[in-house]
């Protein structure tokens, strides 16, 4: 079990990224989520669905040790997360946040080399082996030709691939991707999902959040639907992504359709929104 999450809760009350003290957090008003439990193994792809502002990003940051939950336990390889240093976590879990804000136009290769940071001691900078691993990660994702470009000048899709290469250079066991397909065009979304699929087949565990139930159908083997700070359902996509669950999550009527090759899709039914012009 790479990641085992047991009944965690998080509230913003007196909590920040470096606060290791757990409080009981009975202040309901600041509660982001509670009672969340699940586990992930090698090769799993977990897709977390849910409406805006329901706490998906906060949950992902807890899994990565950036935030500390107020209750419950997170076990990485059977060991409690607070027993790990940032450095130890970063060797096991790679994370791509949503909405990176860039300041300096680093070259693509420099960005990917940053993924080697967990393995480079304080006194050193990347050596030949690190360079080799970074170049291999670029090659794996088919973007080796971009290595000298400034990452700030790339398109959204290319930039997402650069971050994916960085996280591969980190050589983790688990990838946490916060809405990896947002801001990507239709074709790039599908290509990214295919890459995620292949990475999982190569032995990585992957947790991603998404706004598209179809992405969960096509790529993941586990789905969680999050609503108002709880998982309303968790399991395999066919069981979890149902018209009823999506109605609860998004308050939209949906029909689940099956294609000729047994692939399922969500087909929203136009909601009736009475606008008064």
């Amino acid at each position: 079990m790479i990641l085992d999450v047991k009944n965690i809760a998080f509230s913003y009350d007196s909590n920040n990224s470096n606060n290791k003290n757990k409080n009981n957090g009975d202040n309901k008003s600041n509660r982001i989520f509670e009672n969340i439990s699940f586990s992930i193994e090698k090769g799993d792809v977990l897709c977390i669905l849910g409406p805006n502002g329901t706490g998906k990003t906060t949950l992902l940051k807890c899994l990565n040790g950036i935030y500390n939950p107020n209750q419950g336990d997170i076990l990485i390889n059977e060991k409690k997360i607070d027993k790990f240093s940032f450095n130890e976590i970063s060797k096991i879990i790679g994370y791509i946040p949503q909405g990176h804000v860039s300041t300096f136009p680093f070259s693509v290769l420099d960005v990917v080399l940053m993924g080697r940071a967990p393995y480079i001691s304080l006194m050193e900078s990347p050596n030949k082996k690190d360079l080799k691993i970074a170049k291999k990660a670029l090659k794996t994702l088919g973007i080796a030709h971009m290595k000298d470009k400034e990452y700030t000048n790339l398109s959204g899709g290319e930039r997402q691939l650069v971050f994916l290469a960085r996280v591969l250079a980190q050589e983790p066991e688990l990838l946490i991707l916060d809405e990896p397909t947002s801001h990507l065009d239709f074709g790039n979304q599908i290509r990214l999902l295919e890459i995620i699929d292949q990475l999982a087949k190569s032995g990585l565990a992957i947790i991603m959040s998404s706004h598209f139930p179809d992405h969960a159908f096509s790529t993941s083997n586990k789905v969680a639907i999050m609503k108002d700070g709880n998982f309303i359902d968790f399991g395999n996509p066919v069981d979890v992504i149902t018209a009823d669950n999506l109605k609860i999550a998004y308050n939209i009527d949906i029909e689940i359709i099956e294609s000729k090759n047994k692939q399922k899709f969500c087909m929203p039914i136009k909601p009736n929104i009475p606008l008064k012009f």
Binding site: N18, N87, M114, T152
Partner: protein, 336 residues
């Protein structure tokens, strides 16, 4: 990027300060030939090479400390500026953003008011430079939302506070001797540098520079944002604190010997970035080289251009601004 031009600029950046170092011995009121300089510099190894006691005194007691001081101060301000721009993710930041310069300025003004000895002025300004950054950092840490923005705003506030104290010191200073002394100190000058003063600053500066050189690659990661840095296994607040301490040491030590020299810490990192790119692994040592060379050139102008020596703080802006504006025109076309 890493083509012939890149390696050529690295070669140039190593050579430039070395050439300027030797060339600067030739500049000054008393003319010395290159051969005399080389012979005199080698004289401590072989006393037969010494030319005359007066040339030895000019080279070792007057020009050498001043050249080293100009290079150390320029290198310090530039490296601190480059590191601060990285860790605050903001290319508009300069080394005095956390209040070190105004703190040091007040320390110097206070020392001038109460005592007046050169050593005391230097010591007070160094200590008050450190104190002001300590106050800034402690206040921002005591706030719940202690992010980078809060830290920088605290720095701006503490800077303004010490600036007011400097004005207060000027207001009560005796207008016949103390006031001009304070004003002159604040304009920045290396004219009073001697070997003893230099020895006082050399250790904190070399320590700070060594720390920044060791950590320089990691500054790239800090520039990507705290959460990304943490997910890459770096303790962002710790690394930032170490960087701030190192930058404050070098800046406070520089200001304590030279007074307030503006522009170098903002301008040189930008010039350097235009030449070698934003990777701190190269940017930090390159800033060191360009900072040292830039201030040495300015100081050479300052001590020879006019019959009365012009404060270096005035010249850095007068010479630096046109250079900066020229480079800006072509340098940042890729930046949004």
């Amino acid at each position: 990027m890493k083509n012939k031009r890149y390696y050529l600029s690295i070669f140039f950046l190593i050579l430039l300060p070395i050439i300027l170092f030797f060339a600067s011995f030739l500049i000054g009121r008393y003319p010395i030939t290159p051969i005399e300089v080389i012979m005199t510099l080698l004289a401590p190894l072989n006393s037969e090479l010494a030319i005359s006691p007066s040339i030895t005194s000019i080279v070792f007691d007057i020009r050498l400390p001043r050249i080293i001081a100009a290079m150390l101060v320029g290198a310090s301000l530039a490296i601190a500026g480059a590191a601060f721009q990285g860790i605050f993710k903001n290319p508009l930041v300069s080394p005095d953003i956390l209040g070190v310069s105004n703190g040091a300025g007040f320390g110097a003004a206070l020392a001038i008011l109460v005592a007046g000895g050169n050593g005391i002025i230097q010591l007070f300004s160094f200590i008050f430079g450190l104190i002001s950054v300590f106050i800034t950092y402690s206040i921002s840490k005591s706030y719940k939302a202690g992010g980078i923005l809060v830290l920088v705003l605290c720095g701006v506030a503490i800077s303004a506070f010490f600036n007011a104290l400097i004005s207060g010191a000027k207001f009560i200073a005796d207008p016949n001797d103390k006031l001009p002394q304070i004003v002159y100190w604040l304009m920045g000058s290396l004219s009073a540098v001697n070997t003893e003063k230099l020895i006082m600053i050399i250790i904190p500066i070399l320590m700070g520079i060594a720390v920044l050189m060791i950590l320089r690659w990691r500054l790239n990661i800090l520039a990507m944002g705290d959460e990304e840095a943490q997910s890459l296994g770096i303790h962002p607040s710790r690394l930032r604190l170490v960087t701030i301490v190192a930058c404050t040491l070098v800046t406070a030590a520089s200001v304590s010997i030279s007074g307030i020299i503006g522009w170098v810490g903002l301008l040189v990192p930008h010039i350097t970035r235009m030449i070698v790119g934003p990777d701190h692994k190269v940017l930090i040592p390159a800033s060191l080289s360009i900072g040292a060379s830039f201030l040495l050139i300015i100081d050479n102008v300052s001590r020879t251009a006019t019959s009365i020596e012009m404060p270096i703080g005035i010249l850095t802006a007068i010479i630096g601004v046109p250079i900066f504006l020229y480079l800006l025109r072509k340098g940042y076309s890729q930046w949004s």
